[in-house]
Symmetry: C4
Subunit: 286 residues, 4 copies
Amino acid sequence: MKKLTDQILKDVITPRPENSFKGTFGKVTLIGGNRNFGGAIIMASTAAVCAGAGLVTTATDEINASALHAQLPEAMFADFTDDALVADLTQAATSVVVGPGLGNDKTSLRILKNVFAHTTEKQNVIIDGSAITLMAIEKLEQPQGNIIYTPHEMEWQRLSGIKIGEQTEDKNRAAQEKLGATVVLKKHHTEIYTDDQVYQLPIGTPAQAVGGMGDTLAGMVGGFTAEFNDKADKAVLAAVYAHSAIAEKIAESQYIVLPHQISRALPTFMKKMEKLDDNHHIGFLN
Amino acid sequence: MKKLTDQILKDVITPRPENSFKGTFGKVTLIGGNRNFGGAIIMASTAAVCAGAGLVTTATDEINASALHAQLPEAMFADFTDDALVADLTQAATSVVVGPGLGNDKTSLRILKNVFAHTTEKQNVIIDGSAITLMAIEKLEQPQGNIIYTPHEMEWQRLSGIKIGEQTEDKNRAAQEKLGATVVLKKHHTEIYTDDQVYQLPIGTPAQAVGGMGDTLAGMVGGFTAEFNDKADKAVLAAVYAHSAIAEKIAESQYIVLPHQISRALPTFMKKMEKLDDNHHIGFLN
Amino acid sequence: MKKLTDQILKDVITPRPENSFKGTFGKVTLIGGNRNFGGAIIMASTAAVCAGAGLVTTATDEINASALHAQLPEAMFADFTDDALVADLTQAATSVVVGPGLGNDKTSLRILKNVFAHTTEKQNVIIDGSAITLMAIEKLEQPQGNIIYTPHEMEWQRLSGIKIGEQTEDKNRAAQEKLGATVVLKKHHTEIYTDDQVYQLPIGTPAQAVGGMGDTLAGMVGGFTAEFNDKADKAVLAAVYAHSAIAEKIAESQYIVLPHQISRALPTFMKKMEKLDDNHHIGFLN
Amino acid sequence: MKKLTDQILKDVITPRPENSFKGTFGKVTLIGGNRNFGGAIIMASTAAVCAGAGLVTTATDEINASALHAQLPEAMFADFTDDALVADLTQAATSVVVGPGLGNDKTSLRILKNVFAHTTEKQNVIIDGSAITLMAIEKLEQPQGNIIYTPHEMEWQRLSGIKIGEQTEDKNRAAQEKLGATVVLKKHHTEIYTDDQVYQLPIGTPAQAVGGMGDTLAGMVGGFTAEFNDKADKAVLAAVYAHSAIAEKIAESQYIVLPHQISRALPTFMKKMEKLDDNHHIGFLN
């Protein structure tokens, strides 16, 4: 297993080209947030916007529209039960994030199937939370695209069939190969399984053990892969690393980290990374 | 009566174990906030989240869903008139907080009875505000669980039958023993009656005399007992102490303290406590 | 005309008694904010809460409930078309603020009449904005209570019959005497007409020329008169002075002052006033 | 093409007259924000309020009312499908901003036609986003007023018929002359075509390539032209310059700039400009 270092941030977060416009940085469509779990998709969307994606649309239950715009006027709203609209928004995206707060009832399943039917080969498709559980239970086929799963250990058990106590590197690797997808296995020292390599995240803090932390990571992966789409594989790794690097910094003065604080810290953190030259390490920047 | 000191904070707020996840820090279900008093349950929920509970769900009137998520995307929402859902959420919780802004009409009573019917022996059950009043008026039986009442003097009069002018330590102690519950009697120098001991809070400020202060305390007790469930009795005391210690600090530069400011200050305050060694007192930290 | 000085702040904003609770600082009921002007009553309510009133209830159009609690969980909500509830809340208040964003259609009039029918002799009743206009147009009788009008010049013309160009001290005084009420005439160098004296506000800044500034003042007068009810007449003057003193301070670094900034600055500003001894002037505190 | 300098800020942002009231600084009516794109009109309205317009009304889909007031209590709300109300608000405005998030369905078109039917010769009318697209597609006649278009290159292609690759100064100038309107052509180094002159904006940063940036600019142009209505032509240029000057400053420490940050920075930025004497340049102020 290869340990991730802050080098991944320097590789990915490079200065933006002078002559760029919002289209340069991609579109993210996030689908989730049922009547009960609206906060999850709002947190994921906040991460995608603050990461710097060009355009962000949030397809969610109508009850969440007000809170979404009260938190985040930068995101657009879509009713996630409007199948035609969700299909269009799925097809139009550079990165699709499906699952945060989606739930697992019949409506959730219908929405998920609709999304899966409209992704295409060139898109990044981040599958998170209840979308993973629904896939496993309903035995849905993996959709088209550059698929990135972000399960915690129980969700990974459901998807891969490997029980939590038996999730060794070898078994996980075999499961990843079968899926042909990237797997971000969220745990103490998160592991990322890709086609060529297994990475381990050596950083992180128990202050991150707060509901919504995973939704924020999923949104960051969506934002980074859209914005840095020409190096999407590295962008996944950079999002995972940045998520915990920011949390560690906040945790120096806080007992817990609220997920939205990571998102709101992204623009400043990413600027520091952009300026970092090869002789300086992230630790110097505090 | 034993005076509480900041030692209780050091005893309770210890470093989180490295290998922990959100489940480690418990689940809090808060039930309250009718059509008119939505702010109360939002403030209580904010306290529970900021205290560091692993997962927080807020069961409230549907009218409050938007404001809840606009303030606090980290909390999940449930319609408090959905009896089956509230029953499930009650049973699943480490700590249940019932009462802030619940109101005292027929619907409030139905909701309260539903909650009381589903608590279990191992849970912490914080009973606050109109839930205490309803219990007294409707002569409801005390539910199962580690019961913690957080009445102000008038609510305590209703529950215990002891008139405000006659609420002496002895009488209160006798009433507490009969109840077999912890009683946090909110007043100038709040008193906490437990099975083995009566404690007095020697700190606090009139800047706390603001609507919503008690809702915030109830939420903090919910958060602390869930997060530090293996020392739940001490966690109640620590929540009471921290609530006023933070308020005193804010009141050094403010004429009044807004309740949500206490909640938002919790992550930083708790970090300072975690770092405190035995030779240093909280006063050194300012 | 007597010029107000910062002495009025020292007279009114004194340390809170140690043994006080939220009931000590009064109740404010604010009525206003129709479908279109919800922001007005939210700004007024924010001022009342931040000024330190013990309990604040906002009676407004239901459409404003979410935004109210998203901004200000400390306030309680009531549907202003619920006549029985509004009557109760009016009677229960130490100070009633009616008018901010109330509008002037049939519903507004019905609500206003309902409020006017339920005020009592001992209450402070602040009549602002469209409530003044409706009174004048509909020739409503002045309600019971310690009445405080907060008109701008055009509203004063409607109420008193004195045209804007002819609003001299003598004429205004005569009109005030006929009304038997306090009149806060909002203008460049606001004038306050009371039973014994006419005061002029010598401070203020054109950075205050922003929509919502008057709603905030009405809310502050409501908050101050409830909190300092034993010196309610001085509390009106202190609210007017504090409103512009804070605005001047903010305007040192801002081209305009947003009304909610004044409210949010109140707790800190009032603390400074509380600490001020007689040899120090407010100017020293910056 | 004449390069804009910070001199335009000094020319426009001068100290407010002492004896002024909110009416002195004009009224802005903004129309846009359908069910899906509510954030756009909220961001535009925030810009208009923070720029210092005296009164701001936002006509939008009812679903956006809560989020508008949660973000911005200073703005008034109108249902944009209430034709009579929108007609009144259009006629009453100093500056009308139509288009941000308006959408392009039948309802959008009806609303746009209603607005266009009620503008008058003396008003500033800012036409943005989907309003430009609808005009082009539906071949709507240009409304009365001091018309200011704020298209990006694709919208300009639709309106002028000049393809993106062929949008030279000469062709754009000819199209502007035919329209008899000001054209703010948003691009890398934005160009402003007026009756007498073509200006180029030499500043700006790729950190501005974020959804909502244009909505914010449209709102700022609305705010500046209302507030500085006696020098409305220069106010357009000042708004364009200030928008990018603030963004550049924020981008010194952020990888991206969130649109609302520009609006919220306006009061402080404008104060600095007001104080600037002729020997000091904006760069000195950091």
